[in-house]
């Protein structure tokens, strides 16, 4: 992955285009495959595609919806790709998102009267800390006993689903809501709005900032190089004096913290309260984004934006054309498969 970006820097625009070719082919092939299915089912394929691809750009509301979707997607992708760079798999991003949302809500409700300059940072910090805590057990089990992190991070998701239900129905329930929901956090904990109508919260700036930070960390610092080296060859890295177990542990913790932050942003920016189901399908999309980007941290934000466009298009398509939104999720999975297949083509 880093090898690729080095190549990009040396050879300039021509090779950027070359690197993009398999992606373009993958997208076209996936849409073609889905188009055949849609046509067989009797849907209007051109209209469906126009809706998927252009809803985001047709209206100001579409653009803002896309940017709001982009925030959790890019953060969830990074929560997966940072440990991935070290060769570890964090499949628990939604558990950490939920834990982060719970942490942010707890701070936001307990300190509801506090002024924004104090409360907002604490709300976000609450999310970061809880996200990191949620992955602490899997990370520690890996560090101490070499217990496979894939299963433990996944299993913690299911624990989080129950915990959020408990918090939203038993601790601070909103009696009026029909769905497990808490009362709102203090107004000081709301993320400020960049645009008033339609509302766009400042979490977007945080997400972009984090994405840039992570890119510089992994691709332009020596600490980040140790991370990538460990992922490339853990045994060689150990021989060269890198403490790979520390790297594994820290990369997972960092991933958990970022996932937790994404939960805090969903609370502070979008819902202003805790809602069961707040995790949406961000984890799966985050995994798809990370895998499509092949862990390249320069590519992750762009892929995340593209997937956000597809997702906003998917819900519009479901509303206006009655085509199930799952169709787009399948297209995304196909894009991933075709991107992976391009490696096979390149090998020959």
């Amino acid at each position: 992955m880093s090898e690729q970006s080095v190549v990009l820097r040396r050879q300039g625009l021509g090779s950027v285009f070359q690197a993009l070719v398999p992606y373009i082919v993958a997208v076209i092939a996936s849409f073609a495959a889905a188009g055949i299915v849609l046509a067989v089912m009797g849907f209007n394929v051109p209209r469906a595609y126009a809706t998927i691809l252009f809803t985001s750009f047709r209206t100001p509301n579409g653009i803002i919806q896309t940017l709001i979707k982009f925030v959790p997607l890019v953060l969830q992708a990074l929560a997966f790709t940072i440990p991935l760079a070290a060769g570890k798999f964090n499949i628990g991003g939604e558990g950490q998102l939920i834990a982060g949302a719970i942490g942010a809500t707890t701070v936001g409700i307990m300190l509801a009267g506090w002024p924004a300059p104090l409360l907002l940072p604490l709300v976000l910090l609450g999310g970061i800390v809880m996200g990191a805590l949620w992955i602490l057990l899997p990370a520690w089990l890996l560090y101490r006993f070499s217990i496979n992190e894939i299963l433990t991070t996944v299993l913690m998701n299911f624990v989080a689903f129950e915990l959020i239900d408990y918090v939203a129905t038993n601790i601070w329930p909103d009696p009026v809501a029909g769905h497990p929901t808490t009362i709102p956090i203090g107004a000081g904990g709301f993320l400020p709005r960049l645009i008033q109508q339609p509302p766009l919260h400042a979490g977007l700036l945080i997400a972009i900032f984090i994405a840039i930070l992570v890119y510089f960390y992994t691709d332009h610092t020596s600490a980040g190089y140790e991370l990538v080296a460990t992922g490339a060859n853990a045994r060689a890295s150990r021989v060269y004096g890198i403490n790979v177990r520390n790297i594994f542990f820290l990369s997972l913790l960092l991933g958990g913290a970022i996932a937790g932050l994404s939960g805090a942003i969903e609370v502070a920016g979008v819902h202003h309260r805790l809602i069961a189901g707040i995790q949406s399908n961000f984890l799966l999309l985050g995994l798809i984004i990370g895998l499509i980007a092949k862990g390249n941290h320069l590519a992750v934000p762009f892929v995340a934006f593209f997937i956000a466009v597809l997702e906003v298009g998917a819900s519009a398509m479901q509303r206006t054309l009655m085509i199930p939104g799952e169709m787009v999720f399948i297209v995304e999975a196909f894009i991933l498969l075709f991107v992976l297949l391009s490696d096979v083509v390149r090998r020959r």
Binding site: I147, N148, L155, F158, L287, L291, M327, L336, V344
Partner: protein, 312 residues
């Protein structure tokens, strides 16, 4: 009274072992040839969806089960093709198939049933008592008054123990997962073994999924598998990739599931959400207890390239 409660509990456990046994034995079987599958959750969902819809449309549970097995076989075939023939990363391909399964299962359901407030219901699998044996006190109702899938999963486990450890085919198969180069050099068809086990594994996983609407709920929801696919992977690791220990482990997993359900119904003072966390936390705890004794096939998760020069 005590006695009848135990019998009731034990027979519920036997009912609940089926998805764990089918999905884990499938995972194990593919693992014996070095294929590490992580698509369980997705393939089980497809099995649940296809099995439910097949039974709903045809009116026959058997047809539902057969269609589910077919869908699982396709998933297994795809997995084997991408990993064994194209040599792509097993974990990543497994995730991709998991994603596809997730999308397809809900898509199938929406396309056939549409969005309704009143979800359709299918009849659940009936118990088929075995003559004579079901009359045995205690053991009879626990073991011999169950539905056909319970018998199938027990017989499957026995067959796998016999096949893997007492036949030369089984030995060859295990050799593929331990050292494919050695197996290849004595003429064991490595790729074919992987294709066959992947297809069988996919079928078993899909059947595990189809069992859920057919026995537990009678209807399909997108949360019906609820982590059982991931638990099945954990169970396979905990069972040391051996069919008999997986059988024993499935009793534990099913027991925990039934206990947590029981505690919810009886109300033991703890909020039900915490009781529902138990299966997942218990699994992590057992992993911690057994990590030292765990054994996995040496070539698990790695693709075999006949022309590679590395020693393994």
């Amino acid at each position: 009274m005590q006695n009848s409660q135990f019998v009731q509990f034990a027979s519920l456990v036997m009912l609940a072992i089926v998805p764990y046994i089918l999905a884990s034995q499938g995972t194990m079987l593919a693992g014996q040839t070095g294929l590490f599958i992580v698509s369980q959750e997705g393939v089980m969902l497809v099995g649940a969806s296809v099995g439910f819809l097949g039974a709903f449309l045809s009116g026959s549970l058997l047809i539902g089960l057969l269609l589910a097995a077919l869908s699982g076989a396709i998933a297994g075939l795809a997995l084997a093709y991408f990993t064994t023939t194209l040599k792509l990363d097993q974990f990543v391909i497994g995730l991709a198939i998991f994603f596809l399964g997730l999308g397809l299962s809900n898509l199938f359901f929406k396309l056939v049933v549409g969005v309704t407030l009143q979800p359709p219901i299918i009849p659940t699998l009936k118990a088929v008592p075995i003559p004579l044996l079901s009359q045995i006190p205690i053991l009879g109702p626990i073991l011999f008054r169950q539905n056909l899938m319970v018998y199938f999963s027990i017989l499957l486990s026995l067959f796998l123990i016999y096949f893997l450890y007492y036949t030369s085919w089984g030995l060859s198969l295990r050799a593929v997962g331990e050292n494919p180069k050695a197996a290849d050099s004595v003429g064991v068809p490595v790729a074919r073994s992987r294709y066959i086990t992947a297809i069988v594994a996919g079928m078993l996983m899909a059947l595990a999924g189809a069992y859920l609407p057919m026995v537990y709920t009678g209807s399909y929801t997108d949360g019906i598998v609820n982590g059982r696919g991931w638990l099945a992977i954990a169970l396979t690791f905990l069972g040391g990739w051996s069919p008999h220990l997986i059988f024993v482990g499935s009793l534990f997993f099913a027991g925990v599931e039934i206990l947590a359900l029981r505690a919810q119904v009886l109300g033991v003072g703890l909020p039900y959400q915490f009781l529902r966390m138990i299966p997942y936390l218990a699994t992590i705890f057992v992993m911690l207890l057994t990590y030292k004794r765990l054994r996995t096939p040496a070539f698990l998760g790695l693709n075999y390239d006949r022309e590679s020069r590395t020693s393994i």
